[in-house]
């Protein structure tokens, strides 16, 4: 019965997406601007529509894909806003080599199938490059399609290795193995704990990917993994067993390579059972302070490895944070920063490769691929970012800690 229900739900969901995708492309043709963006609170319609000059020749059309609704919405909305902010800035400053940029962002609800539909919608719109998908599993699915079309794809935050498995795809964020290994290194070098427990989502490629590399990285560090407890997407409300096992094993630090919704539940449940270890997490934890009605004091002291801290004194980050806050009325998260960088990376690659919008999608793809390995970009998520032909980024990781209900650099 469960399976039947699943099949039916998939069928219904895809029917809905098809219907929605149809609307989306129509709107895009009519108004030449991401119609979906206007529906999200915080984004400004006037500003986004004044910057672009329609479907005229001489614009680069950049498609964005990510969840603006659903459980991972906070990431997708951040990315959507980050892209728009950067596009507006670049256009206001005269564009890239004299060409304007135009962005269109489509919702995928953190679902692989919907993500592919969003990609098809963007192709109908005339997208020449893709920033997306925001989350790993959908990103891998879209990667198969962009590879077929040889469309240049840059994911701001899809961190699974497979997100950049083809030569047309690149990442702004660290890949999962890098995050896992860097976390292990950080915990070890700063002597944060002797006994570490891990709670991860075995049904999620992001989470299990980080866990595997973390476990490997931990071997050469002077701490021990005393408990590695998994949960699956179907069982993500009750964490009593996983926490009890971590507690019984005497773990003084719990590593959570998972997203913030589950983390919020884990922190609450650990508090109610009187278990207070140190918490360490990766970029998926970013967003926990935005959970409505969540008692942020529970997250006090949580450490996370993320390339961006909104309160950073560093000039680039500060300018970005100020611009973002004045435009959208909220503090940017790391995903917004990744997306903002993604647009500037595309700008750098276009300039370096002398790409021009009259080229075909595949020609642009080839030119961008070659340019990506040549450029070095100073962004808000890292200094002197460079890329290997595999698509992986090379930059230094940073850790932040939650202090007084805000992220602050460690």
């Amino acid at each position: 019965m469960k399976k039947f229900n699943k099949i039916v739900s998939v069928a219904l969901a895809s029917a809905m997406v098809l219907a929605m995708a149809g609307c989306g492309s129509q709107k895009a043709v009519e108004s030449s601007e991401a119609a979906d963006i206007s529906e999200i609170p915080g984004s400004s319609v006037e500003e986004s529509s004044s910057q672009t000059a329609g479907n005229a020749e001489g614009t680069f059309k950049i498609g964005g894909i990510g969840p603006t609704t659903g459980g991972a919405a906070i990431y997708g909305i951040g990315v959507m806003n980050g892209i728009q902010l950067a596009v507006d800035e670049i256009n206001a400053a005269g564009g890239v080599n004299g060409y304007m940029l135009e962005a269109n962002f489509q919702d995928d609800e953190h679902d692989a199938e919907k993500s592919v539909n969003a990609y098809n919608t963007l192709k109908d719109w005339g997208a020449q490059m893709i920033i997306g998908s925001v989350t790993s599993t959908p990103c891998i699915a879209v990667g198969e399609k962009t590879h077929e079309d040889n469309m240049f794809q840059l994911t701001p935050s899809g961190s699974a290795v497979k997100c950049a498995q083809y030569d047309n795809a690149f990442q702004v964020c660290f890949s999962d193995p890098n995050q896992g290994a860097a976390s292990a290194q950080y915990i070890g070098e700063n002597a944060l704990a002797e006994k570490v427990a891990v709670i991860y989502d075995s049904s999620d490629v992001y989470s299990s990917g980080i866990y595997e590399s973390f476990a490997k990285g931990a071997e050469s560090q002077n701490f021990e993994i005393v408990a590695a407890e998994a949960f699956t997407a179907d069982n993500k409300t009750d964490f009593s067993v996983q926490l009890q096992k971590a507690k019984d094993a005497g773990a003084d630090l719990v590593f959570l390579p998972i997203y913030y919704q589950e983390s919020a539940l884990i922190l609450t449940q650990a508090d109610s059972m009187g278990y207070a270890p140190k918490w360490f997490s990766c970029d998926g934890m970013d967003g926990i302070l935005g959970v409505e009605n969540f008692d942020t004091s529970l997250a006090e002291g949580v450490m996370l490895l993320t390339p961006f801290a909104a309160d950073s004194e560093e000039e680039k980050s500060k300018n970005f944070t100020t611009a973002y806050e004045s435009k959208y009325g909220e503090t940017p998260n790391q995903f917004a920063a990744d997306a903002y960088d993604a647009v500037y990376i595309i700008k750098a690659a276009i300039e370096s490769g002398n790409v021009d919008p009259s080229m075909s999608v595949s020609e642009i793809g080839d030119a961008m691929k070659a340019a990506m390995t040549q450029i070095s970009v100073d962004g808000v998520t890292g200094e002197a970012m460079t890329w290997a032909a595999t698509g992986e980024v090379n930059k230094a990781p940073k850790a932040v800690v939650i202090k007084d209900g805000a992220y602050s650099a460690m």
């Binding site: 739900s9 996983q242 959970v291 409505e292 009605n293």
Partner: protein, 294 residues
């Protein structure tokens, strides 16, 4: 010690499943239809309580009462609009598909109204957690309230069904709609009442589910709904005590398999047990007990 903690956690999880399963089993027993929207009525109950208590700042008791009222009305409306016109349809599949449609409708409406971001639910239970054996075992207040509520509701339901006129009417409708009508029972009103009761139970289940696992999204109800459906089948669908036992057993098996076998395999084990039980006893644990049938 941890064995007892696991057992308590299992019973706690199981009693939430049991509460939801009671609604499933009532509706199935009487209307002979699977109300797949039941899990989403739970979500509506959770959101109602969240809006009343956390957004408007009213007392939790008001929140619980209002969510019961809202869900009861919602249950009646769903039944009247979506299910009743199809009751005489040639294929029982039609109403099943409608139920799935209603489920998606509710989810997407909630998505539209409340947005996708998870909300942290403030527990409506203010009871302090109980510490046993020198504080080695902690039983949270929500757990105690959930278990007690579940037992009280089950007892009240059994009393209602077996001892009152309306309850007898329900039994009659569940056995033979046509004959019940000939005996002067208003079949439509009885089925409507069933939906009202089932949805009221869903509201309570929703509030307790969100109190125990305080994360509220438009999809909160769907997975517990499916698990509770399994629990209802496990205990013998149509049987009130069966739903209770099925729910508790499902929760305990799930927690134990997480704790002692593998935290990833929990669902596989739960469903394997279900298959074995159904192979041995196709009607579920308490399925053959026709007297108990709602």
């Amino acid at each position: 010690m941890s064995f007892i903690t696991y057992l308590i956690n299992g019973i706690s999880l199981g009693s939430v499943y049991a509460l939801i399963a009671l609604g499933y089993t009532m509706v199935y027993g009487i209307a002979k239809m699977l109300n797949f929207a039941h899990g989403d009525v739970i979500m509506v109950g959770g959101f109602t309580c969240y809006t009343v208590c956390s957004t408007m700042g009213m007392h939790p008791v008001v929140g619980v009462l209002l969510s019961v009222v809202v869900c009861t009305l919602l249950g009646i409306v769903i039944e009247r609009v979506a299910y009743k016109p199809l009751r005489m349809a040639s294929s029982p599949l039609a109403v099943l598909i409608t139920a799935i449609g209603v489920s998606y409708l509710l989810q997407n409406l909630a998505l539209l109204i409340f947005g996708a971001n998870a909300k942290s639910f403030t527990s409506v239970v203010n009871m302090k957690s109980l510490k046993l054996a020198d504080g080695q075992i902690t039983v949270s207040g929500v757990t105690i309230v959930t278990i007690v509520t579940c037992i009280v509701i089950m007892a009240a339901l059994m009393f209602f069904i077996n001892k009152t006129k309306l309850g007898q009417a329900m039994l009659a409708v569940s056995e033979d709609k046509g004959a019940a009508q000939l005996m002067g029972i208003n079949v439509n009103a009885t089925i409507c009442l069933t939906f009202a009761i089932g949805s009221a139970l869903a509201a309570i289940a929703g509030v307790l589910l969100c109190s125990a696992y305080p994360s509220l999204t438009p999809y909160t109800g769907s997975m517990p709904g499916i698990k509770a459906f399994v629990a209802a089948v496990f205990g013998g669908i149509g049987s009130v005590p069966g739903a209770f036992i099925g729910g508790i057993l499902l929760g305990v098996i799930q927690i134990f398999s997480q704790a002692y076998i593998s935290s990833q395999m929990a669902d596989a084990i739960v469903f394997a047990v279900l298959i074995v039980v159904l192979l041995v006893k196709p009607t579920g644990l308490l399925g053959k007990n026709i007297q108990e049938k709602v």
